[in-house]
Symmetry: C2
Subunit: 344 residues, 2 copies
DNA sequence: CTCTCCTGCTAAAACCATTTAGCAATTGCC
DNA sequence: GGCAATTGCTAAATGGTTTTAGCAGGAGAG
């Protein structure tokens, strides 16, 4: 059991200098006029005593805590959440920062609590992460530190990190077309007509836009569009099953991996072989996608890069207001690589 | 843009009292002799100014920060990790604490960094969480605050939270036996002889012990024990497929849900129907388990309760040193409910 | 020789809340 | 009335760091 924490005064005393000198030297001030000898003595003393600055005292004085807050609606729902957190954590660690994680469940009262708890602790910045991108997000408190919106946007806080859903949407269609599945494509998860008045998230809207644009650019139309609100395996299964009773698609564009999972189940039941009878492309790169047989080719949500980007944007004054990150294509076996080369 | 943060002195001034009085009243000291009138005035002033105490100043003075650190080897691997975090977060929030999350990758250097970063910030307690329970965990730094081991144990820190794997193991076997699948059971994921000298984690060892004990208690033996080190769907698939070329089990006890997933794939390929031809029971209650058709009956790892328990143990001086939490049985369709009643 | 500037360093204030010690006025007791 | 105890409150110290203002001594300019 150690006696007490060693303080800057201890270091200064051991070095035979003032705390002022010790502080300046240890914080590495550039313009100091202290001698090389003084530097050496202070560093030696600090090392030999195992000095670590008291963060509370420093925060009190400087109003900086080398801490950022990651406030999100949900933490545990999908693997997406932990990917964002992991990326953010890694970037924070590299910048010698530390991260407070807070969950609000999307409830306004908890959001306020969370922001205040963070502000009380002198955090240097706030990341608002939206896991279920549907929710809109407005904690109405005066905030005078940098804010980054992660996987969402806000009128109040312009800096945001989003996946490039538009390009992702185009890529998905391109993949299918180039693999020779231009005809009889089914879109699983959304029907433009049925959902006309409804609002999905910004992100998802852009995904649709990309899909539509690439379809029309290639002169293609969907054989069917199957709508459902929650993109869970159950729905993918049911929709695909009823579809198969009437028609037989050559390809399916699934709006997420869980829907695709359901489609796999229905296709297998009907004795159809992937990718020979039906090719599939999907979105997210969920854990699932690698578990399926054959593996699911999917347009990945770049979780970790997004988390990382959010922290970097928070800590460096961002020149640009919004960042969109590319959604990489993860090639697996649910679609043939197209004729002229090109796995990845 | 607000002018400056409002401080305790502002509140005191507005109430026409000293900061001492304001402090005592706002922190709710029990033995104070201040008048009811003073209480009212201070509370009114604090409310009208929107006073929030500066956590850094308070931490500096009291050495308490209402912050705990959650240090884990991995954050993003499985849903297990986020379950633990989510539970811990919820309990912390209820206790008006806030949680620092740190990831070490199991690397000693990063572990030390993490502990020091936490200690520097005057955290009130440390949770060491082991996601990949295999790793043993020894950050060798003087720590004078409470420590709880989560999903792991340590010689230095006796307080721990673990799932009751032994009982879970027994339950799994009991389920199978009571569903009338006493014969031709295959154990998927472990072979006692092959792995004799090898060390899995404590948790897993206890799971095995529970399984063995319940088997012998019922006079049963496994038809086969299939060993593999990484419990991923691939291996479950391969092992089951080669097994099926020679023998046909009536039931499979899978050591986690991902292995079970692989088994599902191989069984489907062989045209076997679950649960009629083969019944399955597994462990973890991964996201997957609910996606499968039929749903996978599994002995759940109580993620959230564990995270919650860790925080509670950390904040209340624990009478007992180790806590084990029951692993609930999640009934789904991969095994028939046994004859005399009893779903749930 | 005086005045200014630089060098190398330090004293003390500031950050904001908590807490100890104690003051002045009133009440209680005999 | 005199003494002690109680009531209701405050001054000042404390925690550890950063930062502003400035001191003492020497060097260089004129």
């Amino acid at each position: 059991m150690q006696k007490k924490r060693v303080t800057l005064a201890d270091v200064a005393r051991m070095a035979g200098l003032s705390t002022t000198a010790a502080s300046m030297i240890l914080t590495g001030r550039p313009d100091t006029r202290l001698s090389a000898d003084a530097h050496a003595k202070v560093h030696a003393a600090a090392a030999s005593l195992g000095y670590r600055p008291n963060a509370a005292a420093r925060a009190l004085r400087t109003d900086k805590s080398r801490t950022i807050a990651f406030i999100s609606d949900y933490v545990a729902t999908t693997r997406f959440a932990s990917g964002l957190i992991r990326g953010a954590l890694a970037a924070a660690e590299e910048a010698k920062h530390v991260m407070l994680v807070l969950e609000t469940g999307g409830e306004p009262a908890r959001e306020i609590e969370a922001v205040e708890a963070a502000l009380d602790r002198q955090v240097d910045g706030l990341i608002f992460a939206a896991m279920r991108a549907r929710e809109v997000f407005v904690p109405d408190i005066a905030i005078s530190i940098p804010v980054v919106m992660l996987n969402g946007t806000s009128g109040r806080f312009p800096v945001s990190v989003l996946p490039d859903e538009y390009q992702g949407g185009r890529d998905a269609v391109r993949l299918l077309a180039e693999a020779g599945n231009a005809a009889d494509i089914v879109l699983l998860g959304h029907n433009a007509e049925e959902e006309a008045g409804l609002f999905r998230s910004e992100s998802i809207s852009r995904r649709f836009a990309g899909i539509r644009d690439e379809m029309t650019a290639r002169g293609l139309t969907f054989m069917a569009e199957l709508s459902c609100w929650n993109w869970e395996p159950d729905h993918g299964y049911e929709l695909t099953r009823t579809l198969l009773q009437q028609r037989r698609p050559r390809a399916m564009l699934c709006l997420n991996d869980r829907l695709a999972f359901g489609a796999y189940q229905a296709l297998a039941e009907a004795g159809l072989v992937i990718p020979d009878d039906v090719a599939l492309v999907s979105f997210d790169n969920d854990e699932l996608a690698s578990y399926l047989r054959p593996g699911l080719t999917t347009i990945a949500l770049p979780h970790e890069q997004m988390g990382r980007a959010a922290v970097e944007l928070l800590l460096d004054p961002p020149a640009t207001t919004g960042t969109t990150l590319p959604m990489p294509t993860i090639w697996r076996g649910s679609i043939r690589a197209h004729t002229d080369g090109g796995a990845s």
